[in-house]
Every structure is written in C-alpha cells, then in structure tokens.
C-alpha cells in the first residue's frame, strides 16, 4: 500500500513540472491582483492556455496519440491535474469536451468525425457543450423529447429544448441526444448528433442561478437542419452512446473530487478565523464529522485510481463520493455561516458563492435520489421500483403518464 508514483509516473510528473515551471507565467490570471475580469477576455485567454497545454501534452492525456493525445492512463492525467493545481494555474477550459464528449466520439464516432472535430476540441479552438438534459428529462434522461425528423434527402430537422448546458454561450459544437423514433420504447428511439451552435434555429439563453450568475444555459432548437453525417454512433443507438458519456462523467467526477475546492483544511481555516468558534465544542464536533467524511473522499479517489490503474472501470458507487462531497460542503457552509454570521453571505465573502452554488449541485450529474436508486440497485442488488414505462412506445407514454397523474 502506497501513494507513491511508479518510476514511469515520477518521470511523467518531472516532465510536467518542468514544463509548467517554464511556462506558468503565460497562464491567465483568474483571481487575485491582476486578474482578468472581462468575461470574453477570460474565455479567449483560457482557450489559448488550453492550446498550450494540449501542445505540451498536458491535456487529453488519455486520448490516443493519433487524435493528438498522449496515449497514457488516467493516473498520468491525474498527475497533470495535481501539478497544475500545485503550480496555481488554471486547467483546460473545455473539461467537458476533452473529458467526456471527445472520448465518446473516439468510442462511437466515424473516422471523418474524429479527423474533423477532435483536434480543434483538444486545442481549445472549438469548445463543446453537452446537450442531453431537458426540462422534462433529467434524472430520467431517456425521456428526452427533442425531436429529430429525417427528410427524404437524408438530412435532419431538430426541434426542442435543452437545459443546464454549461459553456453553451461560447461553444462551437454540441453533442445532442434527440428522439428519432417515438414509436419505439423510450431507450430505443434515440440518436446522438453533433450540432454546430451557430446553426440557424439554435438560440442560447443564460440561466441565472441563486448566486445571480449564469453558469448554465437553456438551448432552444427551432427546426435546426443537420446533415446525415451529423449522426454519432448510428441511428437508434443514442442511448448506448449517451451511457459512454455518462461513464466518462463518473470517471471525471471520481478523479476530480477535491477539484471543487471543498476540502477539510479550507473549511477548518474558515472556522479557525473565529476565536470563539475554534474552541466551541459543538462547532468542533460538527467540523470534525464533516471533515472526516471529506477526508474519506480523498482516499476513495485514490482507491478509484488504483482500480483504474488495474484497468477496472469505476462503477456507480463512485456516485457516493459525490453525495458525500456535496452534502459535506453544504453542512460546512452552513456551519461557517453560523460561526461567522451574516458577513459570510456578503458577496465579497469567500463563502457566499459556495453557499449559493451547492443546492443546485445536489442535482447536477444526476440527483441524489436517482444516484441512490442506481447504487441501491446496481451495487446492493436491490430490486428496482415498478415502472410505468417498460415496453411501451414513447409516443404512448405521455398519455399513460397523464392518466396516472
């Protein structure tokens, strides 16, 4: 049992560290003195930085070499992330594209798609967004209603609405799940598409959250025309393709545990700044309980890495770490605000944004309830709940739902 690098990993780390030492001055400054504040400038500076990281082999580490990656394992990617954090510089802008959508295209895309899209994605020249969730299809993702109809010439017409779309406002492309055959069962009539975000009929609208900021978007599709070659992974295979993306999402979350900055020492620091709070036994009790769970998640991450290193793919139980992080951070924010008082909620406080952000994060990447269902069924082997949608064509499902309500 050890947390040490293998000789190969150590060599990789040294290389990454040496490059960062030489180039970290070129990284955009996002906080503190001299920070860029203009939104558009931030995006373009981060895109340029992503290009440099990709050029140096610090992005897309797990991608095959033929698509511009390094052909290395997830551990080497984690080493890169650790060194980036240590150097105090931002990582890539398009973590969703490079971490989840690119690998999906590598797994299911055509040779033409791989040749056309992967390079510019990796280098930050074209940012991507994930167009899966809809107002009525979140936890039950296979209920997507965005409709794609094929014309006689083989081209497609898409109409519908997507939501929770991170980065859509500056994305070039999106990976989009749409219903192509409503007469099939809900999981069968789905198809995955690549959609240019500047196509006529695409409208992106920011969605403001509790913090007041708009990190997500709504994306409206009004008779958007796509060519035949926009299909990824074959017509009717959209669900399988989406599952690949979600698997990479789990890997990303499993490895990125503390990347959100919800770590125990930071929270302890918040409490320790109050002379009374740091000595109060009730406060310490709560801090100790919260921090213990967050510490556990760090080592759960190492266990996940060990499994990946052995070629195993993280299962749904990785979702438990997300539940722990989110609920731990919620309790920590609450405790810190109790200790520091209303000042903790001021806009310039270190904690206000986190406190506002977390209630939404509870539902991100699958609600806590759906995660617990999945884990209960797949990990503990408990029987599923009876479903009303089994074996029924999607087109008939809506009326059945209406009757049950």
């Amino acid at each position: 049992m050890d947390l040490d690098d293998t000789p190969e990993q150590a060599e990789h780390r040294a290389k990454v560290r040496a490059w960062l030492e030489q180039h970290k001055a070129e990284a955009p400054v996002l906080s503190g003195p001299g920070a860029i504040t203009d939104e558009a400038e931030i995006i373009s500076a981060r895109r340029a930085w992503q290009g440099k990281l990709a050029e140096a082999g610090l992005a897309g580490v797990t991608w095959p070499k033929e698509y511009g990656g390094q052909g290395l394992g997830p551990i080497e990617q984690v080493v890169c992330n650790q060194e980036l954090a240590k150097a105090g510089v931002p990582g890539i802008l398009d973590a969703i594209g490079v971490g989840m959508l690119g690998p999906t295209i590598i797994a299911h895309g055509s040779e033409e798609q791989k040749a056309r899209y992967l390079g510019p994605m990796l280098h930050g020249d074209e940012v991507w967004c994930q167009l899966f969730s809809e107002p009525a299809a979140g936890s039950d993702l296979a209920a997507v209603q965005t409709r794609a109809r094929q014309d006689e010439d083989g081209s497609w017409r898409l109409s519908g609405q997507k939501v929770w779309t991170t980065n859509a406002q500056f994305s070039s492309y999106g990976l989009l799940l749409a219903r192509t055959d409503p007469e099939q069962h809900k999981h069968k009539g789905l198809t995955m598409f690549i959609i240019p975000m500047d196509a006529p009929g695409v409208t992106v609208r920011g969605l403001r959250q509790i913090s007041g900021e708009a990190e997500f978007n709504e994306v409206f599709l009004d008779d958007v025309k796509l060519e035949q070659d926009a299909v990824v992974g074959g017509i009717g295979n959209g669900w399988g393709t989406a599952l690949t993306t979600l698997m990479f999402e789990r890997v990303t979350i499993g490895l990125g545990g503390e990347g959100l900055g919800y770590n125990s020492v930071r929270f302890a620091k918040g409490i320790a700044s109050d002379e009374h709070g740091r000595r109060d036994s009730e406060v310490r009790q709560q801090l100790g309980e919260i921090a213990s769970e967050l510490l556990a998640v760090r080592f759960t991450g190492y266990r996940t890495l060990t499994a990946l290193q052995k070629g195993q793919i993280p299962g749904p139980e990785a979702g438990l770490a997300k539940v722990t992080i989110v609920n731990g951070a919620i309790k920590a924010g609450d405790l810190i605000a109790d200790v520091l008082g209303p000042d903790a909620l001021d806009e310039d406080s270190e904690w206000a944004y986190m406190i506002s952000f977390l209630p939404g994060l509870k539902s991100a990447g699958g609600t806590e309830e759906i995660l617990r269902n999945t884990i209960g069924e797949r990990v503990l082997g408990l029987p599923p709940e009876p479903r009303l949608d089994k074996g029924i064509p999607f087109s008939e499902l809506r009326s059945k739902e209406g009757a049950a309500a």
Binding site: R284, G288, S292, R303, V323, N373, L382
Partner: protein, 381 residues
C-alpha cells in the same frame, strides 16, 4: 499509487473469516446476555494458532512483522461476527513495547500469545487540553493519569490511580500504558498480578466486550524507554483498530439487511424496491465506504506520513462509530418489529454499537480531535 489489498492481505482476511466461522459467536453473545455465568468462547488459542498476537511484533522477536492495516483486517473480521478476540487490548500494548528496547525480552512470549497484554487507554493532549488523560469510570470529565514519583535505579516506580473501561484487561498478564512519572508522561508496564493492582471485570450492555476497571495503589511498574510519540501513537492505533472492528460489524448489518429487503414483500413488492428502504440502505453503504477509505488512510499514514496518523485514525473512528450506530439502527428498522427482539441478531449489533461508541475516549472525542488537528494544519498553512 496502490491502495488495494495485496494477495497476502486478501489471504489474511479470508483466513480470519474462515477461522472465526468455526465458532458460534452470535449465539454465545445472546446467551451471555441472558446468563451472566455463561462464558464466551475463548478465542485466544485460535488467535495464537493464526499468529494474530504477534501481528505488530517484528520477526526477530517472534512476531509476524506486519502492519497496522493487516491488524485492522483481522479486527474487521472479528467485528463481522462480534467475536471477542482480545486483540483490541493486546495489539496497541505490543506496539508500545516494540518501541521500548529495554524490555525487548518480553516480546517473544507476547508474540506467540503465551502471555497476553492489555493497553491502558491513555489519551494524548489536544490543542485545547495540554494534559494526558484516562477514560473516567463515569461522567464526562476526563480522569488524570495515574502518577508516581521518580523511578529507582532499576526503572521501577510505584503508581497510584486508575484507568476505567480497559478493553481486554480481564485475564491479561501485562498492562501497558502511560502514567505521569515525576510529572512526565511515561510509558509503563504493570504485571497484573503485582501487589496493589486491581483488575475489576465489568460486564456491560454488550456482553461480548471484555472490559475492566484497573486500579493501582502503590503498584509496582516498570518504566519503558518508548518515546512519547510512540505512546501517543498507541492511542491512535487503538482508535484505528476499533474503527476497523466497527466497520466489520457494519458489513454484516448491511448484508443481513439487504438480504431481508430482497425477500420480504409488502403490498406485492419486495421492500427493498421502495426508495425509503433503498435509500436508507445506500446511506449505510455510503458511510461504510467512507470508513473503509479512512482505514486505508490510517493504515498508510502510520508509516507513510506519521504526522497525519492522529488525524487519519481519529477520522476513521469518527466515521466508523457513526456508521455502526446508523447501520445497527437501520438493521433494526428494515427488519421491522422482529429486528428489535431477542429472536434476531440486530439487537446484538445495536448493543455493540452503543457500547463501542463510548469506549476509548468515545466517538465524539475522535471527531473533536479531527477538528483540532485540522485547525492546527490551517493555522500552519
């Protein structure tokens, strides 16, 4: 990066499970509650055959020279079946003695299990309390450690004072802990049969747990040359071991509950299909997995990052103690009324949970220690 069990560790765990399965530990636990005269199976000869007494003693002194994580695996297996193997007392005691070269001649008999030791729980100072302390026999105020004046030329000292709720002290040959000798925290070993030593067995809520109040009245003790870090480390080792033992019990509580949730039907459906039941069982799994990860942290840090061992072991204890409480309560509620009766094993796990959480300083103190360690880290950052 390697945070998985080695083949040897898998084997150690499987062997422990196989060995303990030969005993009807749960039946014995129930009988022991009914009949104060009934005896729990003596598992020490079995432990000796398996080589567990010498787990933490090096091979040169007849031990297995293994690591705390290996010891935690064995304790986890004991916890699964509520087996009263007196390792929780013995192993931290041997860890102190292994760091005290002057008494190295004691080690071979302790490694073979020919003689048995018990650790006198001695809690190191914290950021808020500069004193060492012992568990009190009652109430919430910590007890001062026993004291003695300066040792004589042979390193002998007379100690007076007490340690309450000492795990596995009944029947132990040697008692090992910390006392204030001439005002300084000092490692000591006391022979249980020496004059002035009283080991009073206390049978409590969980009859599988062997405990005693140890009282010293001018009792002869030998001063150890173990460094003070080793004395503190023994406390955290005990925290890690009871955490591992608790998580073993959670494993059983979860497995039994899940099996029942699959076979018990209400309103035409298995109860495990209801979200209310499913989610409470995944909550037990979540706490169990967090606890397991912290056992790895504790196991790794004892040698890999010794300054973090207090944090890691305390965090493991904090999570494991709560996991066992929650796991035992869920075990009862999933089973419905029957889970709260003598017919079922659930009450035995519940009793184990409630007593375990109050021993060795208690789960709450472990959480407080986590906060203290992190506040110190935050101050230093």
């Amino acid at each position: 990066m390697n945070l998985a069990l080695s083949d040897e560790q898998e084997f150690l765990r499987e062997a422990a499970r196989g060995t303990l399965s030969r005993f009807k530990t749960l039946e014995a636990a129930r009988e022991a509650l009914d009949d104060p005269q009934s005896r729990l199976p003596d598992l020490w000869p079995t432990a000796r055959e398996a080589g567990w007494p010498g787990l933490l003693i090096d091979e040169a002194h007849g031990g297995a020279g293994l690591d705390v994580f290996d010891a935690m695996l064995v304790l986890g297996e004991c916890g699964r079946v509520l087996a009263g193997v007196p390792l929780l007392g013995h192993l931290p005691a041997t860890a102190i003695l292994a760091d005290a070269p002057r008494v190295a001649e004691y080690l071979p008999a302790l490694a073979s299990g020919e003689r048995r030791a018990a650790y006198l729980p001695s809690q190191p100072p914290s950021d808020l309390d500069p004193r060492w302390s012992a568990d009190p026999a009652g109430g919430s105020e910590r007890s001062p450690l026993p004291t003695g004046s300066a040792p004589d030329a042979n390193g002998e000292v007379k100690l007076s004072g007490g340690y309450a709720f000492v795990p596995d002290a009944p029947g132990a040959n040697a008692l090992v802990g910390v006392a204030l000798v001439d005002g300084e925290p000092t490692g000591v070993v006391i022979m249980a049969d020496a004059d002035g030593v009283q080991v009073e067995s206390v049978r409590r809520y969980d009859a599988t747990r062997s405990l005693a109040h140890v009282t010293l009245k001018d009792a002869a003790a030998t001063v150890l040359d173990a460094p003070v870090d080793s004395l503190a480390s023994a406390w955290y080792l005990a925290q890690a071991l009871i955490a591992a033992e608790s998580l073993g019990s959670v494993e059983t509580a979860l497995e039994v509950s899940v099996a029942y949730a699959k076979e018990r039907f209400t309103f035409g459906r298995a109860i495990g299909s209801y979200q209310a039941v499913k989610h409470s069982l995944t909550e037990v799994l979540r706490q169990l997995e967090n606890g397991r990860s912290l056992l790895y942290y504790a196991g790794w840090s004892r040698n890999g990052a010794p300054s973090e061992f207090p944090l890691a072991a305390s965090a493991a204890r904090s999570v494991a103690g709560r996991a066992l409480d929650h796991g035992a309560r869920t075990m009862i509620s999933v089973h419905g009324g029957i889970g709260a009766t003598w017919e079922h094993d659930a009450p035995l796990y519940f009793r184990r949970a409630q007593l375990s959480r109050r021993l060795l300083g208690g789960t709450a103190a472990a959480s407080d220690r986590v906060a203290g360690e992190l506040i110190a880290q935050a101050d230093a950052a």
